[in-house]
Homo-oligomer: 152 residues x 2
DNA sequence: TTAATTTATATGTATATACACCTATTATTT
DNA sequence: AAATAATAGGTGTATATACATATAAATTAA
């Protein structure tokens, strides 16, 4: 579906404005597809993101601040996302002994199992849904980074 | 900033997976920049989106359902966004006389003024921040629509 | 014409974003 | 060493997303 159909408008100032809206719409579309796949595992897209970050460092522990700076959405409220993962017993919280201000988070066995199963499912969903060749993907990555090149 | 730096990871399955994450991160980045610009006008990014949709049809009125299907994020809870715009007296709600189930929304004079001022500001922000040429933007739009081509 | 179904909107709940502020702990300064 | 500043994480509030359900009005079927 073209963007024009998706948002029922073709009044764009220029192609750049359209591209910005297209990025926003595509992100919403990707998130929706991911969430659908995660539903059977009882976790949200953001909770999955935190589990993935923990896995990336496993078996090392990682503090809340380090999780936060690895999140895609930088304003995520990590303590609260961890709350929900803790209730489901997918992660464990411990106060760091080196610095008692820090809370270190680690995956539980249940967390590892759930992450493995959901990753398999999500990877499959994303492959089915994201129809780009490797070359096109490289091109897209370049354009997105050019778009953001005003970022300091 | 490259995606690797932004999310402190370079463990991507392939370029397509990286592209999907890059779209999500770029969308967050764009929204953040937009929100910063809208702050002085006291409205959120989503409230601005609704005002823009109303302007697109002005002076025709438009019902809640028609706003919803024009939103970028299709699961937006339009009645609630309209609640907030109504409190600020930027829009007016009326029950349609032709179909009493429908609520038609229209911009107030204050809404029009605020929209004009904020659009000026937002357009400027987006131009400063989104560094793509017209040609690159066309290319990006094509790639995003290819990415989503599994959409039915 | 009444009953059943569909549609438009509103509302409730869980989770998330965005951001301000609080508290405990650590680091720095005087 | 005591006072001050900085840092990590938690918590409160407003708004949003996501989705289920409720309610009123309109449409369709019996």
């Amino acid at each position: 579906m073209k963007l024009e159909e998706a948002i029922k408008s073709n009044k764009f100032k220029n192609e750049t404005q359209k591209a910005a809206l297209n990025v926003l719409y595509t992100a919403w579309w990707l998130k929706t597809n991911m969430s659908k796949g995660l539903k059977e595992f009882g976790i949200t897209h953001e909770q999955y993101n935190v589990l993935r970050i923990l896995k990336g460092k496993y078996p090392d522990q990682i503090c809340v601040r380090d999780i936060a700076c690895r999140m895609i959405e930088k304003n995520s409220n990590v303590p609260r996302i961890v709350d929900r993962l803790e209730i489901k017993k997918l992660v464990k919280r411990t106060t760091s002994q080196l610095d008692k201000r820090e809370t270190v988070i680690s995956l539980t066995h249940a967390g590892i199992l759930l992450l493995e199963a959901s990753t398999k499912s999500i990877d499959h969903t994303m492959e089915t849904v994201t129809l780009l060749t490797e070359i096109e993907s490289i091109q897209l990555n370049k354009l997105l980074e050019k778009l953001r090149s005003s970022e300091r």
